[in-house]
Symmetry: C2
Subunit: 606 residues, 2 copies
């Protein structure tokens, strides 16, 4: 009861089914919930690009501008292609759904596996980056970053278990605050850059450790690809919008992309302009804010805003992961209970699993954003590619109005994101991308074996035309007793409500006791037969099992019901004081065919 | 199945009840099993005396001779008194039994608690001392002493689970070998002392750190009291002897005391004569053997013999502890399952508990004999005192032939051992004796609360004259279903063997599915009513529970039987793939009165 109350207090009262339609999101709330994942990437994308370029020395950092235009191109292509998916799949078109309906089972499962890995990594990476924003401002917290990250994830699990709409409201204000603060930074930074006095930065030139090759530039593009992570979230959640769903989702997608592109390009330009270089203990955003505003209250507001945006970005995965899991469960690729609505109309199981795995990753990688990002980007781009390729196939088979234009748009998307997969996989394979390929392989195997198990179960339990309703069978009821008391008499009383033949069975370990019990039975046994069976091995359990076996063998068509009088103590810890014989008997009989076990509990008051 | 086979291989086949009488022990085997505890004390008793005396400098060691005579007096008193107990309590007269029949419940429980602590410490102390004998001979094993001790205890657990007689045979040879080797050491040592050349010992005089006060001498007597630990074991196990039990036990007791007295006095004399002083890394016996025989094969034989004797001494506790536990369980002071015979006619539960606690102590005290001994002696002497005081009370009330003489004997025993308790407790209280008093207090509390629980249970379940055989009640059978398949039909088939009214109940979460199921039910439902109940909260579980509650409320006199169709997968790990709803339903209904749960399993083949 106390646990139930605690649960209620944490996650609120259960909602009726009729409330479901009111859980739909307005465009503003949807922008907060669904785009935070994507926009928050600006907090680390520029840094990832610079970390690669700086290997070729300070001068190579100038290449960040052309690299950022490549990423901008990617944003434009993805926005247009995903808007097409939103209109084609108003039910929500994740990589799994699109691939399943156009490319078949195997690509769909690969897409599903890639998406699942993404969602987990979204939580882990965003939380780690959010904590990095905090520790840039308050360096003394650096050593506690893992604990802080875990606390943030656990907080999100609880809030998400409370339900979709409340999460939206809860997260909208800080998300918009974060986006606004980064917007202020970019805006004022650009004004300073063009009109302000020249900010002097202590130029500690980095020595080149690699040559500035084409490969290095491609690697920096691959690193910058993290900027577009999360762009697919809107298309997965079309169903969550208010009607007209597709139109609202499409508009939200456009707003999101505009904000993302503006902030990403702005930060990259400013970092280049002010000659900012990546540091291990301070983020690019933090350096930029310090330079622009000094370490005053505006600086802290920007750090807090960035942190909130990032930690809350993880929340988009908490909305998307359980939905994907439930679609997979519905199709028989995940355990069925993942498809069950929880009390709060959300997929509680999925939320909890997602949070726990993300916590595990955060601990495993010591809360280091850069260690997690190579795993992140590769999964995202695999799911992008499968979505786009699915759409290409769709236009080729379905045609419809303007299909050639649509084919070209998604074709461009497929080629761009497919190229992204190849670039990221080849440049980051040894940095962790291999783990993602291995995990996708394992997850697909898991999906397939779950599916084949459910198929086998269905085949075994389905009723066909050849089945006939069963012919009623005899039922022999056995009541094992070791004395005569109220608990036993209660069991006998219950057994008499069965139509079958009833036999009380006493294992004769002590002839004196047996005689005494037989006398008592004459008075209390309600006319039920009492059978004393010998026990040569002093094992009551073995004698009973042997007897049951004999009955089963003698009559191959009957049910055997074993009615066990069980004393239930008033307090759980008193259970140890009661003979474990009932438990042993149940365990021994549990997996036998034609045997039905019945506990008749006798509840003690004290 | 594999676990059963492993168990069989480790502990042997089960024995029939009729074999029980053959498990009785001959005097020779009994001497090996029951006296090893007592005799093995000679391996450390002298050392404990010297460790105290040496605090007052090397000269004070001469006091070991008068101290050893005090211990000899104690041995004589205990032997005579315990022989009287053996004749008075042929069923086995431990401190608990004697105190219970003469002094009442509270002293009996204190005695039982003291005995239990003793048995555990016997295992721990003897094993630690045995390993010390080994590491004296092979110093490189010193750092592995805890691991070696644990291995020895686990070995003893397995051997004891194989049964009483086999343990006896198994342990008789090494026990006699150990006693024999120490006998050889004492014999040849004394011959050398009187007739041999003077052995030169490097005299590194110990500086006195304390004055030689009366208190110090009393402390050394208290330390020497460890010599008599284990003398009660024979009197606890009279029942295990062949008839005439008391006579055989009494003779065995006398033999044991003679051997003990001879070896103890001999070793103490030799240690004094050769000026041997205690060392941390080598036992007195080892020093004595090295001096007498040099470090040759005879030396190693003595060390091995001592080690075997000590480790096997622990075995006497493995015979006594489960017997005490079963007597306490029979009287309702311990969980009832402790009273159950195991497969091998031994009290398996007690053996395992004893071994596990001893292992824990060995680890806790780092396998150090001297740290454990203060705890050991105080418990032993409390149980001695309670036995003797009980006998004194017995002779006063019972009288009988020669009761005055017998009274005097046990009176002397009571005074001597009572004095022992006071001396040991006052000199060793801060060295660990307080732990024993605390543990006795806790154990007695535990015994009492277990007893009052069983009493309350008996009061609640006993049938009295006022009870009437129950009037048969109606039975409503509810079968919760979520579809129509073979598992459900099997449950319906079984439910029809009940005499009551049967209702299949379907929670209506999806009107389309409900309609489809109703059509299927018309074909397969065997004429059973199908009820569709609404589910406003989308919680199937809650709707079902509410429905069951309604039925219970409406008819306060019926049984409600809930028949749950349960799919049992072919492999246990597949269980996660099946909806946990059945489990949740069972958990929610488990503790409700008048509700009977029935699982009708449908076994999958693959």
């Amino acid at each position: 009861m106390k646990i139930m109350l605690l649960k209620r207090w944490l996650v609120g009262d259960p909602l009726k089914s009729t409330q479901l339609v009111h859980e739909r999101l307005s465009k503003t709330i949807a922008l907060a919930i669904l785009s935070s994942n994507s926009i928050s990437s600006v907090a680390y994308a520029t840094e990832e690009i610079l970390l690669v370029l700086v290997l070729a020395g300070t001068a190579a950092v100038a290449w960040s501008i052309p690299v950022s235009f490549a990423i901008l191109f990617l944003i434009v292509v993805l926005t247009i292609s995903y808007r097409q998916i939103i209109y084609e799949y108003p039910e929500g078109g994740g990589a799994y759904v699109v691939a399943r309906s156009n490319l078949g089972e195997q690509p769909a499962l690969i897409g599903a596996a890639a998406l699942m890995i993404d969602y987990v990594l979204t939580v882990a990476v965003s939380t780690a980056a959010g904590i990095a924003a905090l520790t840039s401002a308050v360096p003394s917290l650096f050593e506690h970053r893992v604990a802080l990250g875990l606390a943030a994830i656990i907080f999100m699990i609880v809030v998400n278990l409370r339900g979709v709409r409340e999460s939206g409201k809860f997260f909208a204000v800080p998300t918009f605050f974060g986006v606004g603060m980064i917007g202020v930074l970019v805006g004022i930074g650009i004004i300073q850059a063009f009109f302000g006095q020249d900010v002097s930065l202590s130029q500690n030139n980095q020595t080149a450790v690699e040559d500035l090759t084409l490969f290095l530039i491609i690697r920096s593009v691959a690193a910058g690809c993290t900027a577009v992570t999360g762009m697919e979230v809107v298309s997965n959640s079309v169903k969550a919008f208010r009607p007209p769903e597709s139109k609202n989702a499409s508009t939200t997608m456009l707003h999101m992309s505009l904000i993302l592109a503006t902030l990403f390009m702005g930060i990259t330009f400013l970092a280049y302009h002010f000659g900012i270089q990546p540091k291990t203990d301070e983020t690019i955003i933090s350096q930029l804010a310090r330079l622009t505003f000094g370490t005053g209250s505006l600086y802290y507001a920007i750090q807090i805003g960035t942190m909130l945006l990032l930690v809350l970005a993880a929340n988009s995965a908490f909305a998307a992961f359980p939905q994907l899991a439930s679609i997979l469960a519905r199709d028989g690729y995940m355990p069925r209970q993942m498809a069950t609505f929880g009390d709060r109309l959300v997929f509680s199981n999925g939320i909890i699993i997602l949070g726990v795995i993300a916590c595990f990753l955060l601990v495993l990688f010591h809360g280091d954003t850069h260690a997690l990002i190579p795993l992140y980007a590769v999964g995202v781009f695999i799911s992008f590619t499968l979505s786009q390729a699915g759409m290409v196939r769709r236009w080729l088979t379905k045609n419809g109005p303007h299909w050639q234009t649509k084919l070209m748009v998604n074709g461009a998307g497929a080629i761009t994101t497919g190229g992204g997969v190849i670039i990221i996989a080849s440049t980051k394979f040894t940095h962790g991308a291999w783990i993602v390929f291995l995990l996708i392989f394992i997850l697909v195997l898991m999906f397939r074996s779950i599916h084949s198990h459910y198929k086998a179960v269905t085949e075994q339990i389905t009723l066909t035309r050849d089945h006939r309703p069963p012919i009623p069978q005899r039922n022999i009821v056995i009541i094992p007793i070791s004395g005569v008391d109220q608990a036993v008499i209660r069991a006998v009383d219950y057994a008499r409500s069965h139509a079958g033949e009833i036999r009380a069975v006493l294992v004769d370990v002590d002839p004196q006791a047996t005689a005494r019990i037989q006398i008592q039975w004459a008075q209390w046994g309600c006319g039920v037969n009492l059978l004393a069976i010998p026990s040569p091995y002093r094992s009551v359990l073995k004698s009973l099992l042997d007897y049951v076996e004999q009955v089963l063998e003698k009559e191959p068509d009957i049910w055997v019901t074993v009615v066990i009088p069980e004393i239930l103590p008033a307090h759980w810890w008193q259970s140890i004081l009661h003979n474990q014989r009932a438990l042993l008997l149940k365990t021994a009989l549990l997996f036998k065919d034609r045997i039905i076990l019945i506990d008749v509990p006798f509840h003690l008051k004290r």
